[in-house]
Amino acid sequence: MEEHKTKPASSKAGPDVCPTKRKQLDFAAVKEQIEDTTGPEYWRSLEELAGSEEFQEMMHREFPKGASEWLDDFSRRGFLKTMGASLALAGLTGCTRMPDTEIVPYVRQPENVVPGRPKFYATAFTLGGYASPILVESHMFRPTKVEGNPQHPASLGGTDVYAQASILDLYDPDRAQNITYLGDVRSWNALTEALRGPMNAEKGMAGGGVRILTQTVTSPTLAGQIRDYIQANPMAKWHVYEPINRDNVVEGAKLAFGEPVETRYDLSKADVIVSLDADFLYAGFPGSARYTHDFAARRNPDANMNRLYVIESTPSSTGMKADHRLPMRAADLESFARALAVKVGANSGAVLLFGQQGKYSETISADLKNHHGSSAVIVGDHQPPAVHALAHAMNQSLGNVGKTVFYTEPVDANPVNRNESLRALVQDMRGGKVDVLLILGGNPVYDTPADSEFASTLESNAVGLKLYLGSHRNETAEYCQWHIPEAHYLESWSDARAYDGMVSIIQPLIEPLYGGRTAHEMIAVLSGQSGVTGHDQVQTYWQKQHPGTEFDAFWRKSLHDGFIEGTTYAAKNVSLKGGGAPASQSAAPAANAGSYEINFRRDPSVYDGRFSNNGWLQELPKPLTKLTWDNPIMIGPAMAERLKLNFKDVAELEFNGKKVKGAIWIQAGHPDNSITVFFGYGRTRAGRIGTGTGFDVYPLRSSQTPWFGSGAQLRPTGDTFQLASTQGYQTMETPDGSTRPLVQERSLEEYKKEPNFAKEDEPPAELTLYKAPHDYSKETYSWGMAIDLNACVGCNNCIVACQSENNIAVVGKEQTLKGRHMHWLRVDAYYNGPRDNPKGFFQPVPCMQCENAPCELVCPVQATLHSTEGLNDMVYNRCVGTRYCSNNCPYKVRRFNFLLFQDWETPQFKLMRNPDVTVRSRGVMEKCTYCVQRISERRIDAERDDTTIKEADLQTACQQSCPANAIVFGNLNDPNSQVNKWKAQPRNYSLLAELNTRPRTTYLAEVRNPNPELEESRA
């Protein structure tokens, strides 16, 4: 890790402001002029026209307005092509500021800058306000890769998919590139000028007409700025809205304790974990990286293995990792929680549960009671406040508080109810009380509930001046007069709190590519202090918090480490209000026939829609369905059978009087009579990647039923729609009823009896006429990998990390449908057992780097060969593309460039790529290399120092990003290496060992820790 740089990009600024207005182009005259000419003359006049000042101006004016091209029916691949053209146009307008390139070598080399050596800077990525502490790799001032911050307790080196993919957002060529007023390009000065009058007028009214709408803010600086402004203008108001909000969590805490405390868990000490609809092992749940780390660390069957019960309304990757999983409709969960609470003595009353639910509540409560002080009950954000309150009561009476469960100050700087805040804002807007509305980030026009009528109110003339700070010219930007491009977090100064309250300074790694601005600068303008940079704001704030002479050292250390020491919220003593949790109103599901429960969920890939234009995330196979590019209407198998619906049938979904159409996905383990739909799709102005993918479910959502509701209708339409799933078959069962030994699994008891159950005898090495081609044991290095299937939670992190590290192309839906996605590493998801509640398995599959590699034998041109260190190398230059190697690969990990999948044109993407990895062209095969570029780099370092590569210095991208530490990579010739230790474990097995491929990548078999009592009932 390096010292930060306050100005990491080139010090010379590019053209910042667009040329001033010129003579307007008379379109009719031009038309006439062109129509009069023919043939070569015609072209010549077009050329002249293009060169003219007026044309330049027209391009200038038209381009940012050119929303039309976003709606053009580009194919996903066409997007990659057209990108080049759009950039050419952008170049013509001269408004894009690219980082300056130095075309002469340095006369005096700047200190610490060595071309070819990346540097790392600590910063933080935020999602829903919560910071993910990260380190960002920077090659010659270009951020190229996101890694977790190993020193930060919220990361410990792990990240989540969104943080990993955020690097692509930075270089997104669809980002807004100009400040615009009614579509016309304006300068920042013009904006501040335009604001001066209205803001002066507001000052007279104590800011009575000013409304600021933000997303969740955890930035102490920004919150301080807004509060300062409101203090100066006491009638101004700060509203907060976020579609994926934690209203229920806050209300639940208020219900239990009377104050909106934040709940934090220490899963490393929890022997029994009960999740009530909490998908705490997937990105988007605050603290998921740390929880995954702690949870996975306790899945070691040789140590004190924990036990996870998941009761959930939508199958999730967390549920599939559970030792016992009970699918249940979201509305039924409250009575189940109540029964649990009664049985563990946290609530009074009597609840009768029968059948499976009764059995589960009985057993789980007994297990919880047996683990007094070492258990945890976690509730999902979408469960109503009452369930949260019940969980608080349970954790309290189980003695978990202070041991596995902690309460702290809220991380959210303004923990108001999002829906109420929005409703109040809309009321004010409608009442004509809002003169100036400043929307800082988010996309409320797209993602506010239908009944809030925010969008229609914003569209009307109720609000005088509407300003929107947003990264894209999206749905919201269309409704606002002013649109200010928002700087990406890698371009801005800010700060944010992680789930435990610890503050990270967000520092930029590059100057804003498109002249973006931050919320800090917008608030500063509002306060009339233009010219104050984000850097000043953040530094000033912290100087106030940390007065004293050693501020400079403090500041540098905080930037360097990526967090400010001592800012973690201390555990807080809170006491239950008593009286138990009242039943919430939604607890009684409507029982009328033909109507179903509907669940709204964040999408595992595009979240609430903010990542719609991110190709990596769009093409990221969702953990359970392996779907890409679309959201489905998810139902359970029994319901599908009753409704005679099949995969990919289009159905009409009606709820709250609104209708949407979507394709059906039958998800094993989905509760019956229940439907799940996912946010984030069906966007109309997302950009060329995201526009038009999937269908929008926000219209179905209302503020009364933010997460689930009953009374949804589902009708088949008879149409079908292609859904692009990257894994068509998710069963390991063979027609004769046996199971293919792909993911090996046993219960803890069975494992103790027969620890090496997964071992399959490989054919002995001497059973061949051929001599072993190479004696790898004599080499210094012999690379190998082991993947612990017990630790893997299927969070998809490794896929995106690999994509980012290895410059892997996005191919689009059409190509994914054809089976041509390019991921070098995939996570296979399998289901086993009854379809209404199967066991789920995740298996990350990179290249196995077989010692007897079937691919090498058949390549006619020796384009894939073995290195002396045991790597199965791929020589792109030599490949002629027969695809024979892929056919002969039993693991099917090879990927082929059937077309020119890589974007060789778009300049932004050139900046983004890892310079250490070849960008492949069409017609060549590619595959996982064990990150050979990292090996080489470390080998060069080690040779320079006359030593060998130390294990701690070398990690593959997948390994590095894995929050569960499920992947270990290292030198097999080093007897003390971690990978050798793992491979020596009895659980270690090779996939398809019987083929004698002798894979270097092996797996540690899965062991579950089921409760024997429930096992019996299940059997």
């Binding site: 894994q727 068509g728 078959y729 998710q730 069963t731 390991m732 063979t734 027609p735 004769d736 046996s738 293919r740 792909l742 190509q815 054809k818 089976g819 041509r820 995939r826 296979d828 998801a829 399998y830 298996q843 599959v845 079937p854 034998l857 058949v858 390549c859 006619p860 041109v861 020796q862 030599r878 490949c879 002629v880 593309g881 027969t882 695809r883 024979y884 892929s886 056919n887 002969n888 039993p890 693991y891 099917k892 090879r894 990927r895 082929f896 460039n897 059937f898 077309l899 020119l900 069409r922 017609g923 060549v924 095969m925 996939l991 398809l992 083929l995």
Partner: protein
């Protein structure tokens, strides 16, 4: 050659040449097709069709080279699709020519004399069609020459362990030998055409091609020796080419490929489809050009018998595949059979079984062997069946192998079909031209079948 041939008149079966022909009628009849017969409207019409099909191939290949193999339906896991299916199919068809010319020549099967010329031509054209695919299916066809072992500055050789490199040798050798064999056999007839042609240009062209053939005893002596040698060289090739092609699959680990029965099974299948193609072409040609005298029922029946025999070998191959699926005890192998019968491609597997095993069994009955209509239909069915066989082997095996997570489906695109039908167009275009510019039946070899050619022997017998 043909010194101890049986005297046709003594044969009780249908003769290989209709009675009443003399040396001059044979020469006249065959050479007139090339030299005298006017170009009919039907020929032109047909040519336009097949030529435009060939142009469709050029368009498909042009677009392929421009865009990449992604225009086809191939994917991961099914890395080989129509291209390899068609390659193996065409190569298989290309087997009949050499078999008829070389092996039957060595075995002194004189009936071959009236069909060997166009069977050889067919072989060449089929191999030319086949040769397109290995080149076109590569991701970077402009570098496909790397498969050849040529001295280069990289000092890098192809991978001699790879069956694809063996393919390169096997197919290019086969093409060369077939071409030489065919051309050598043409020389005496080219001389005949030279002598009979009235147009001075034609005389010159045929004269050039005849390479100075004067028909002297010394010429004939050397010709016979060279022909015999080439026949000897070509004979092992008939077996080796498809054996090597089958190694493409047999060497792989994919269930459905990894089996030792492939070489004989592929060779039998190749001859099966080759004879089917010979019949498919011979039956209409003998009617159009009134060659029933030379290509008689006897030829058709013999070809039908070869088809029946090789078809049964193929059926045995299917049986052994099924048996080994069960006998191996391997899950993946037993699943293979289940998948063929119950998987998504079951219809095509059943179609394959009926085309290759079921329907051709009617050839046991003489009625079907001598009825040209039925025979043509059955041959066509066999051609379809053999194409399906390659489809099942290539595509269906790849679609579902070891890891269920990586199973896939293959949907050919319009470019796949255009390329396939385009090669059929190219093949037929060449055939169309061939029947008009070269003698489609070997004149001099046919003449050896006449009793006059054996006058000496007859006298000897009488004595």
């Amino acid at each position: 050659m043909a010194t101890n041939t049986q005297i046709p008149v003594a044969d009780r079966r249908v003769p290989v040449i209709a009675p009443g022909h003399t040396f001059s009628t044979i020469t006249e009849k065959i050479s007139n097709i090339v030299l005298k017969r006017p170009i009919s409207l039907g020929w032109i019409f047909g040519f336009l069709i097949v030529f435009s099909m060939m142009n469709m191939l050029m368009v498909a290949l042009g677009y392929l080279f421009f865009k990449g193999t992604g225009i086809w339906g191939i994917n991961i896991p099914i890395g080989w699709g129509f291209a390899i299916v068609n390659f193996v199919w065409w190569i298989g068809i290309g087997h009949a020519g050499t078999l008829i010319s070389a092996i039957l020549a060595l075995l002194r099967q004189t009936w071959r004399n009236s069909i060997n010329r166009f069977a050889e031509a067919m072989t060449l054209f089929a191999v030319a069609c086949a040769g397109i695919f290995p080149l076109a299916h590569t991701g970077r066809p402009w570098l496909a020459y790397w498969l050849f072992p040529y001295p280069n500055s990289m000092r890098y050789w192809p991978n001699f362990r790879s069956p694809l490199v063996w393919d390169v040798f096997a197919v290019s050798t086969y093409l060369t030998i077939s071409l030489v064999f065919w051309f050598m056999g043409l020389i005496p007839d080219l001389a005949t055409l030279r002598d009979r042609a009235e147009n001075p240009w034609l005389q010159r062209i045929y004269g050039l091609l005849a390479m100075g053939w004067r028909g002297s005893a010394r010429h004939w002596h050397r010709y016979e020796t060279a022909y015999l040698l080439l026949a000897g060289l070509a004979t092992p090739l008939v077996l080796s080419v498809h054996t090597v092609v089958s190694f493409d699959f047999a060497v792989g680990v994919v269930p459905g490929w990894h089996t030792t029965i492939f070489p004989p099974y592929f060779v039998a299948g190749a001859i099966y489809s080759g004879f089917a193609m010979v019949l498919c072409l011979a039956i209409p040609i003998r009617v159009i050009y009134r060659l029933q005298d030379f290509i008689t029922e006897r030829h058709l029946e013999n070809a039908a018998k070869v088809m029946l025999a090789t078809g049964l070998i193929v059926a045995y191959g299917y049986g052994m595949e099924a048996f080994m699926g069960w006998y191996s005890g391997s899950k993946t192998d037993s699943f293979l059979l289940w998948n063929r019968l119950h998987g998504p491609y079951r219809f095509w597997y059943l179609a394959l079984l009926s085309c290759n095993i079921g329907i051709p069994q009617v050839l046991w009955l003489r009625k079907f062997r001598v009825s040209t209509g039925w025979l043509w239909l059955i041959s066509f069915v066999v051609l379809v069946g053999m194409w399906l066989e390659r489809f099942i082997i290539v595509v269906v095996s790849l679609s579902r192998d070891f890891l269920t997570s990586s199973w896939g489906m293959y949907y050919p695109t319009k470019w796949d079909w255009m390329t396939f039908f385009g090669t059929i167009g190219m093949f037929l275009t060449f055939m169309w031209l061939f029947v008009r510019v070269l003698p489609m039946i070997s004149i001099f070899e046919l003449r050896t079948l006449l009793p006059e050619a054996h006058a000496e022997e007859i006298t000897e017998v009488k004595n």
